[in-house]
Amino acid sequence: MVVPRFTAERTVVHRQKQLAGLAARAPLPECPVGDDLDLFLDRAQSHERAAPLWIPACREQPWTMGRVMIVQTSRAGFQACRDQLSRQPRAGCALEERLVFLSNARAPRSVARVKMPDSRGSQVIWMTSQSLAWGDALIALHRLYIVLALTALAFSGMLGIVGCHARSTYGSLRSIRAAGAAPPAWAEFWLLFILPAYAQSLPVDCRDEYEERLKSQGSAQAASWYRANVYASLRDLFLMRLHRFLLPGRRAR
């Protein structure tokens, strides 16, 4: 489906645009290096519900002037460098590795992290304040939202149609109950509500029989017969309507 892919892409673009307009506040904790950075970022996740989408986590400190820095691109190299230079006050080790965008790429929702230079030229690590869906998970989420929205739309449309039909049924019920004996109202309502066009004479037939039974058996028996007859008929009447709906080409009277 193209639509969820498109909306998911739009969402990602929107998230990135939000990031572009942000400025980090001046005092920020110093970013640890190596394995400590992951632990730090895991702990830095915001628990505020109203937090903005992106929050600054830490700022990388510039190298100290007058020190020799040995730059490593892997964590193993960085660790080995630190072990070797632990007693060298005029030399230090630096780790320059690419920051992985998702903290947990396997999870359906993950915190995203981005390294960006701030106005002072030092790198700031930004992270999303909550775990969010990305990539295929985001597309799947949008697909779900679209299906839910379409289902809700169809359901509300159907509810509207049923409501209109119930209203017109109530009008028919009032006109039919204005004169003559009154069979159980709910049973008569459901009969009129579900009545297919072909069986339009059924309420007349039921009333005829109800009145006959009213005279011969009394109101309780007649009402009981009416209810039983109508409620047992509803399944057949519903199937008649369904059949006509599914096969609209059939001859209608």
Binding site: A179, Q200, P203, D205, C206, S233
Partner: protein, 110 residues
């Protein structure tokens, strides 16, 4: 007679009920006829569902009577068995008669 033209038991009973009632064959009368003569307690919904099927096969035709004011302007519908319906009924009845001939436990059909 094709497979779709064969009559079910209720269809046969309703066709016979319409033939018996003649000009006065409407839903409630058909239902009562089935109850009185065949001992079948069938709902109005079933009667109309069967009648609709029969009308699609062109075995019966229907006409609306005069609208009744005390029934909210609704009218009774009267039914009539048409020539294909009579032919189908004769076919079903003939087949049953042939099958029943000589079977001692069944009453012999005339």
């Amino acid at each position: 007679m094709g497979r779709g033209d064969s009559l079910g038991e209720l269809e046969q009973l309703i066709l016979v009920a319409i033939l018996r009632l003649g000009e006065n064959a409407y839903g409630a009368a058909i239902r009562k006829e089935l109850e009185l003569r065949a001992g079948r307690n069938i709902t109005g919904g079933s009667v109309y569902a069967t009648l609709e099927r029969l009308e699609e096969k062109r075995y019966v035709s229907s006409r609306l009577g005069e609208p009744v004011a005390e029934r909210g302007g609704r009218a009774r519908t009267y039914f009539k068995v048409e020539a294909p319906g009579i032919k189908a009924l004769q076919g079903s009845y003939g087949a049953l008669k042939k099958m029943a001939a000589g079977v001692k436990i069944l009453p012999q059909l005339s």
